[in-house]
Symmetry: C2
Subunit: 139 residues, 2 copies
Amino acid sequence: MAEVKGKTNKTPVEETVGSYMTPIRDTLEIFSGKWKIPIITALFFNGTCGFKDLERVVVGITPKMLSKELKDLEMNLLIDRTVEDTRSVTIRYSITEYGKTAKSVISELHSWGVKHRKKVFDIDDSTVMESCDTDEKDL
Amino acid sequence: MAEVKGKTNKTPVEETVGSYMTPIRDTLEIFSGKWKIPIITALFFNGTCGFKDLERVVVGITPKMLSKELKDLEMNLLIDRTVEDTRSVTIRYSITEYGKTAKSVISELHSWGVKHRKKVFDIDDSTVMESCDTDEKDL
DNA sequence: CATGGTGCTATACTTTAGTATACCGCTATA
DNA sequence: TATAGCGGTATACTAAAGTATAGCACCATG
């Protein structure tokens, strides 16, 4: 029960949990940052988009960031970039089938966030709770 | 079907989705960064800890970061900082009951991350899948 | 009364994320 | 043949996140 002096019975997270943290870091790396989820959401809601479409739809993003984030998302197999070889080449961005699995993550982030707002900002949440639980939309 | 020239039928994310993004940003703000989840996980696995305990257990963190992150997590009601007024004052950090709701988020980040690693790195995952599905530990 | 543990804070620095602004080649249209 | 849209890149900057290192007041133990 008593601790040996200077040492602890606490076990280092990395050691104990081993590979537990790594996939979490992966996921966070993919979804965190200011623009990734807005872009994914835009493609979910609007379907296939061109570059300029996304620039308009993801309000406030600069072309540099958009370009970079699209590359990242493509590398992670979440979106597709297809070149249609029409006259005046058209480029189309869309979510992959695999990308659609991101839905579970995003909706968990969303629903926890909703509850958190209630916890932090609301005083009495008993009346609002039912409208919260049914809050999940298509995405 | 045809687009009006120069304009798009695409709808801006912020407008369409309205308040959809805000809680997602909240959640990401709370859980992203290099140390928040390791700290939470440490408290989940080890129970109540002191500051130096956490410094040892969350391998690599500096006292400055630890101090800052603990304040953030406390502000967000996820952890408790209690001062035990023993001789030689003891300080104990622990997860709040509310903080335990973070489990759903963290385990979603984890399980998606596991699947993602398989998708990206593995060639054939049929043999490893069963050890994956039972991979969820207590947290 | 030194040594070492606890719970931090302070200062200075580097690295990463994001912004601002300009510009480019190509094509389609008036 | 000018104008405007498309799909971006280039350069320079600011701000936020994280690191490195030192130190301090308090207490307990030998």
